[in-house]
Amino acid sequence: MSEFLFLFRGSNLQARSPEQMQESIQKWVAWFKELNEKGVIKEPGNPLDRSGKVVRGHGKDVHDGPYAEAKDLVNGYLLVETATIDQAVALARGCPIFEDGGSVEVRPIMKF
């Protein structure tokens, strides 16, 4: 078995009406339940707030941020465990993020 990190990018829950938000949350919960039943969740991860601080450079300067393009902003993560990356990708395709124009990055955990 291998582990894969799902990075969720570029979907903004807050920008919508409460009803739309409710609907979207339900879809996410349904997807998580599906993953839970398949027993593929390694770490269920968490959603992330959209703004924080960025520490950067040799001077370890602290900036507000990340101010990336909205469509590229990481706003959550999850760790799954499957045999192959194809299986992980198949799981990612069930994510409701695509309805909001977001994306899922599937990254194998590197083992040294």
């Binding site: 949350i25 919960v29 998580f32 339940k33 039943e37 969740i41 269920p44 968490n46 959603p47 959550g76």
Partner: protein
């Protein structure tokens, strides 16, 4: 609420669920006197309990294992709040109550233990209140509940009401526990009228929950609900102002609860679908026969006797035979009644039951055999289980010395089949 929280925390964390609910009530006591009672107090309590549950789940996320069937959904902010809200939603609460009801009727527990557990967890009665409402003392009830909770905890998850075969297997035990719960209220030994009505109402409420489930609404469950509702209709006429029991024959039938009589009759009709005839059907039909009679003289004793005959066929017991003998004495006179009592097989099972000698005494008194009547009442007095019964038998003894005694006035004399025989405490290991 405890049932729903137990679904989140897991059956092994029942104490945690109880703490959360108690906490919500304590918060209410602190906050309400200062800020006033909110518009919707139960919603307020629910929200408070929800937030407390979320606190616990977040803090102990990794330290504790919660409900195994919810798996990892409680570990992450992606899902924890929506899943908790789902379990605490109004419809889901009913489902949790049902699961808890079935969990409490675990086959490893004795019937009295199942009833005590339901009263404690689902109805919120304290050990004191349960001990007051039943024949057992505080220590015995406490032991039953502690042991019952241990059995629940060992199974970790609540009973899964989604598996049809398991559901149907355990349904009779659940029906039986609700039946005993109702009888404890209607015919129990607690002299306190309010406690008894409350027990009856709880039994009716839980049976209604059972009727909401597609597999729960069997003809037998409808019959059970009909039996309870028709019998409970008489509660308002059943005691006088000082709490003494009034016999069915002497009740003011105008006080009977019309709404319940109508509802009970409707339930009895619903129970008639299908081929199944359970003891509950017949007991409900007996209750209905009494309800149909405007006056006691109008009672159709022949119909009631034939219903008892049918009950003997399904569920023969000396107590049913005793009830049948009483109905016979009503129709054919005390001699026939006494003959019917003589014919009861294994009467030794009635040995500890005071209304057995009391019935004999009553019938002897009616045919003016006062010496025998006195002996029987003395025997009944020796077996009396509480002050109310003792007082009643003393009055009957005194009646043996009156020129023309009035007939007995206790409900238990008229409907002994509803009265629980104290079971030996089989669950004390």
């Amino acid at each position: 609420m405890i049932s729903a929280l137990t679904r989140i925390f897991g059956a092994h964390n029942l104490a945690l669920a109880e703490d959360v609910v108690q906490d919500a009530f304590r918060r209410a006591l602190e906050v309400w006197p200062m800020r006033g009672v909110p518009d919707n107090p139960s919603a307020w309590l629910m929200t408070t309990a929800r937030n407390r549950a979320l606190d616990i789940l977040r803090r102990q996320r990794t330290a504790n294992t919660f409900a195994p069937e919810l798996g990892r959904l409680l570990e992450s902010e992606w899902t924890v709040a929506p899943v908790v809200d789902e379990v605490l939603a109004a419809g889901a609460i009913q489902d949790s109550m049902l699961r808890m009801m079935f969990s409490c009727c675990h086959p490893h527990l004795s019937e009295p233990a199942q009833v005590a557990l339901i009263l404690n967890i689902l109805c919120g009665f304290s050990i004191d209140e349960i001990a007051n409402a039943s024949l057992s003392g505080y220590a015995a009830i406490e032991k039953r509940i502690v042991r019952g909770k241990k059995v629940l905890a060992e199974s970790k998850r609540l009973f899964d009401t989604g598996v049809p075969a398991d559901f149907s297997d355990r349904l009779p035990a659940v029906q039986r526990a609700l039946y005993l719960l109702f009888n404890e209220g209607y015919h129990g030994t607690s002299p306190e009228r309010s406690v008894r009505s409350e027990l009856c109402n709880e039994a009716i409420r839980l049976t209604a929950v059972l009727l909401q489930h597609p597999l729960g609404k069997t003809p037998a469950t409808y019959a059970l609900a009909a039996l309870m509702t028709l019998t409970a209709a008489r509660l308002p006429a059943r005691t006088d102002s000082s709490g003494n029991l009034i016999a069915l024959s002497n009740q003011d039938r105008a006080l009977w609860d019309r709404k319940r009589l109508i509802e009970g009759t409707r339930l009895l009709e619903l129970s008639a679908s299908g081929n199944e005839v359970a003891a509950y059907h017949i007991e409900a039909a007996i209750a209905s026969a009494h309800a149909m009679a405007q006056r006691v003289e109008d009672t159709d004793w022949s119909k009631i006797i034939s219903l008892y005959d049918a009950l003997m066929g399904i569920n023969p017991s000396p107590i049913v035979a005793l009830s049948r003998a009483i109905a016979i004495s009503q129709r054919d006179g005390p001699e026939r009644g006494l003959e019917a009592i003589d014919a009861i097989s294994n009467p030794e099972r009635l040995a500890g039951y005071p209304f057995y000698p009391a019935t004999l005494g009553e019938l002897e008194l009616r045919r003016d055999n006062r010496k025998r009547a006195r002996e029987h009442f003395q025997m009944a007095l020796a077996r009396a289980r509480n002050a109310t019964e003792r007082l009643f038998f003393e009055q009957r003894l005194a009646a043996c010395d009156v020129a023309s005694p009035r007939p007995a006035t206790t409900a238990a004399f008229w409907e002994p089949h509803l009265a629980p025989i104290p079971a030996a405490d089989s669950d004390e290991d």
